[in-house]
Symmetry: C2
Subunit: 243 residues, 2 copies
DNA sequence: TCAAAAGTGTTCTCACTACACCCATGT
DNA sequence: ACATGGGTGTAGTGAGAACACTTTTGA
């Protein structure tokens, strides 16, 4: 505990983003193609270094969100996943990265044409199945981020962050099904979601679709913590746990 | 994404520890009395700066665990809580701190006489009730750490980390009761714990106490994830939710 | 009139709670 | 004998799964 006279080493601090959304009823993540070494040409999570010494961590995450994905931070779910600081995780030197999870409502446009032209949405399954590899330890970060999202769907109103300002219960169900990778019974889901006080509130209007009865339209309610929770069905050992 | 020619600012990286244990059937945390400015004389979580640029984050946590608490890291639960990096959280300058949660079995000796003489175990309740204040943002870190421990008791075998290598089911129950701050039915707890395959395994021997029937002795089983989980009884609104 | 999607009612099952009860020990 | 804590049996309760059924729309 002799912290006098000796100056501790300083490290470079970066922020990486796991930005999830729902597109074509699929859970997708925003990836960028790296334009510089190392891992030039490989896919990676969007991110970057802290701007200056006065920038907060979450503040930096918001800035990267805007710069690299064109997403305006306000009214967008953003939470810290964890910090990844193994020496050797970046060949450039000692770089410690704080990872954030962001949830965006399904955007109509596929990729941001703004700043990072190489950015595009990729189905999470493609990465998880190793059909597409990521730079650095970004695979681990993505896995942790997705798992975080899966957990939080159970007990928080995170699912509404995937939807726009209004949505139907079927929309919400598609979120749960895509993130969890399961099929849910629409009838039971309907009642379960309605049974959580303050989770969703009806707007009064309905939404017409191609066919079938129009669905009531809802918006996110005041409750952020779900009580009772929407419990994820347990993957009863089909043998493909780790796959 | 113009990361050429411009060199990003570096920050000082520290590691802070929330070390929890069970003493006198109370959840306690290890605190140290600060010997230097800032916050000289105040209580704080043990921690310190990274030793050098090649030291891993978890590695640094293990080192601090040994240096400040005299706890040998091996076979000791240690997991990352999160990273706290608000500018201004430390008056000395921009210091980003990665917080770790450590769980130790109840030690017979109250405080480590080793290195940091000012260290001592303090009931978590005393801090949470603001009867004892902490330096920096260590109160927030402690709250997050305790909440993490509470959550993990439900679905992982974390509770066994509070016990020694062997324990009785009543010992385990005391862990759950202390961490959650609730009372549990011993009969139902007994069966519930036994009903989780691989959670605990009987050693065959029994432990005699002052009075009553001797209890069977167990040790931690191979399973780290509890299925079915030990569900925490919900605090049915006694009105003191946020307090 | 039919298909398709929204929304409702009802049964069954299973896990958990509560508590009565038996077992093994020290005093 | 009896107090104390360990361990077992069992009925009642409540939430969720499964699924039959009704409602409302477009074609």
């Amino acid at each position: 505990m002799s912290e006098d006279r000796w100056t501790p080493p300083s490290v470079l601090l970066a922020v990486d983003l796991v930005i999830l959304t729902l597109r074509d009823s699929l859970l997708q993540v925003l990836l960028v193609e790296r334009g510089v070494e190392p891992y030039r040409g490989a896919w990676a999570l969007p991110g970057g270094f802290l701007n200056n010494s006065d920038e907060g961590l979450k503040e930096a995450a918001h800035r990267e969100l805007l710069e690299e994905a064109g997403l305006n931070g306000s009214q967008l779910h953003l939470e810290q996943i964890g910090t990844y600081g193994d020496p050797g995780r970046d060949p450039r030197g000692r770089i410690v990265s704080v990872a954030y999870l962001a949830i965006a409502p399904g955007l109509p446009e596929p990729a941001p044409g703004t700043d990072a032209a190489g950015a595009s949405w990729v189905p999470v399954q493609e990465v998880l199945c190793r059909r597409r590899t990521l730079a650095f330890d970004h695979y681990d970060i993505l896995v942790d981020g997705v798992e975080r999202a899966r957990e939080k769907l159970e007990r928080t109103a995170l699912a509404t962050a995937f939807c726009g300002s209004t949505f139907t219960i079927a929309d919400l169900q598609r979120v749960y099904e895509a993130v969890w990778g399961v099929q849910l019974d629409p009838r039971n889901f309907y009642r379960k979601v309605q049974g959580v006080p303050g989770f969703i509130v009806a707007t009064g209007s309905v939404r017409r679709t191609a066919r079938g009865r129009p669905a009531r339209v809802f918006r996110a309610g005041p409750c952020t913590v779900l009580n009772p929770p929407i419990v994820r069905p347990e993957r009863t050992g089909t043998g493909e746990e780790k796959q």
